[in-house]
Symmetry: C2
Subunit: 384 residues, 2 copies
């Protein structure tokens, strides 16, 4: 492999190691864009295979393809989704970019700081700042996840989503309840509506009500709403959460399909569908827990990557890695976020960290041997 002699930055792309991860951090299209901007790109052989991007497509885009060691050796900025299994190979000259979940695993960030690595994480991007939106990988991946959640639900449900009229009669459309109307929830609403379902949705943020209605869905009124903070709901008080769960539980039984997508940044997802609510649902109904993961889920008893049928005949799908299951679309969107971020950090002609910039201050977790992100520092100081 040969690299351009005067590249501004060499961007290394790693093959993901997690078994359920099909995405890749950069696509041939976005690699071509970075090469055109004067950067070099070096891709680990097979990195795009699970998203159906071949090594020769990266080469045609002007990237070099090589083994993992070469990517870590040549790469200044190393792109990944998950930080698994790269830390030991990184040095102070490396910048790591990914979905590092710094608020859920601050200890990993502390180790990155110790290693002298500059760690950038999309998770902590200030999402409401407009110049940051082209870098918003949480949004782009949530959008894919919401689309997939609706497809998974439609595929698992034993009836039609649309109303269909035939010579033998008319079928009623499926009734779908979407809990959590952030980016993922809204895309789930839109997709279920495309398929012809009658959709109702709920979000605890007052600002989400108009979004729900604008997609042609009804709002489920459970009497609890709070103001939105930075695009997220604040964590509810125990009393508010209990009232909310009660009211949602009372409503769930009316629906054929329930899709949950509620997330609170840096915390386990809130429980929205307790066991009691599942028992109120009719046999054959389907629940897709789009928040299922290592840190819990929105549905009692759901397990990420597993489908269970309750004794009363409700299919509960713990669907945690949804974006990864649409790997081509998800990787394409993620790679665009990566390319936008590289452009943002190299505006001056070379890669420069400026923590006085609100967007950079959100993205940069570790730099100069220290954890610099205030929220991550607070967690580390609180737990040490």
């Amino acid at each position: 492999m040969t690299l351009p002699p005067h590249a501004t930055l060499t961007i290394g792309v790693l093959r993901e190691q997690a078994a359920d991860e099909q995405r890749v951090g950069l696509t041939p299209d976005s690699a071509a864009r970075l090469v055109a901007a004067g950067h070099a790109v070096v891709v680990e052989s097979g990195a795009g295979a699970r998203a159906w991007f071949r090594d020769d497509e990266y080469e045609s885009a002007g990237a070099a393809v090589g083994p993992r060691a070469t990517v870590l050796d040549a790469g200044d900025l190393v792109v990944c989704l998950h930080p698994s299994a790269v830390l030991h190979a990184l040095s102070p000259r490396h910048i790591v970019l990914g979905l590092l979940q710094p608020l859920l695993d601050p200890q990993l960030m502390a180790r990155m700081a110790e290693a002298g690595v500059t760690a950038l994480s999309f998770d902590t991007l200030p999402r409401t700042v407009s110049r940051a939106q082209s870098m918003d990988a949480l949004t782009s991946q949530a959008s894919v996840a919401g689309y997939k959640a609706a497809l998974v639900a439609a595929d698992a449900y034993g009836g039609f989503f649309p109303m269909l009229t035939t010579a033998a009669g008319t079928t009623k459309p499926a009734t779908v309840l979407v809990l959590g109307a952030g980016v993922a929830g809204l895309q789930a609403i839109a997709t279920a509506r495309r398929l012809g379902a009658v959709v109702t949705a709920f979000d605890v943020r007052d600002s989400a009500q108009s979004d729900i209605r604008s997609l042609g869905a009804q709002v489920l009124d459970v009497g609890v709403t709070v103001q939105s903070e930075g695009g997220y709901a604040r964590q509810l008080t125990a009393e508010e959460q209990a009232e909310l769960t009660d009211r949602v539980a009372d409503s769930v039984g009316r629906f054929d399909v329930v899709i949950t997508t509620a997330q609170v940044p840096g915390r386990p997802p809130p429980l929205l569908v307790p066991e009691r609510a599942l028992q109120l649902m009719h046999p054959g109904s389907v629940v897709v827990d789009g928040a299922a993961g290592d840190f819990g889920g929105n549905v009692e008893g759901s397990k990420a990557g597993h489908t269970v049928v309750t004794p009363s005949g409700v299919t509960v799908i713990g669907a945690g890695a949804l974006a990864s299951q649409v790997p081509r679309a998800a990787s394409t969107a993620y790679a665009r976020n990566v390319a936008a971020l590289v452009a943002y950090f190299t505006r001056s002609g070379s890669f420069a960290v400026d923590l006085d910039d609100e967007v950079q201050a959100g993205l940069v977790i570790t730099h100069g041997g220290r954890v610099v992100h205030p929220a991550v520092r607070a967690l580390l100081e609180g737990t040490s």
Copy 2:
């Protein structure tokens, strides 16, 4: 269990035996309709379980629920999907109704005749007679299968079906080719279009072109069309078939997703996508063979119930039992066809076979100890 004393007909409903069959021949809704018409209904315990209909729902509808032996003992008209494993228990007082595939398995029909059973099969209904359409189970099941074929394709495809615009850019919609635009193909077109894909379709019957266009899809012109006979294409000559396969193969490589649904009644499905065509498709593209089954398929190398990825990265899904995978919708539609058929055969107040009636003559395969259906007789005489 107790049965009404003066029921016109006792309709028995069997639990299906095939491992991949989730449907049931009658739903609680349609059972209630038959009971209201003065018939008795007796359902094998658990018959509806895989379509999420519980025994107590049948009982609430006025049906009796009991073991298999009781259903065969009490039932005059025995309803099933597949005739598997009932023949030995049937006697001359039994009428069997199902999708018996008499043209593919005429020997089974000969054995039914020997047993003195009256066998009615939906497969041979004259579909173009308007008073027959409420009994058209092939159509109702094909409609479900087409819907599911599009969902299966969307779920397997690594990209979005719709065009989506986000802060990081716009994604192109998926391009979908539907081969065979009968009932299943048209529903696949409609569903893929609902999901936002750009759809092109082909059918060898000239009459299908306007159906394709009316759903907003483009027609793939391959230069071979024939007139439609009874809703089906006639079998092509070897020369026509070769030309057709060649032209389709040349076009397939342009599409992200190919869905095939081409059937010829009583014959193996035609080969539409040869190996050569699969090699022209790009990595990550998806082929759903909706005609895959015991008698072949539309796609070379596809196997019913199996998904294979070709060396060039094309996912080929042998999706033979599609209607059964949407068991609630499929059973609901099938049960309506059953109820309409019962009403048709009992117009005079009791069950009566009239082979001078065009619709009955199509449905009745065996009666009075003989195979009476001309097409099935012809097959038996040709092979004996």
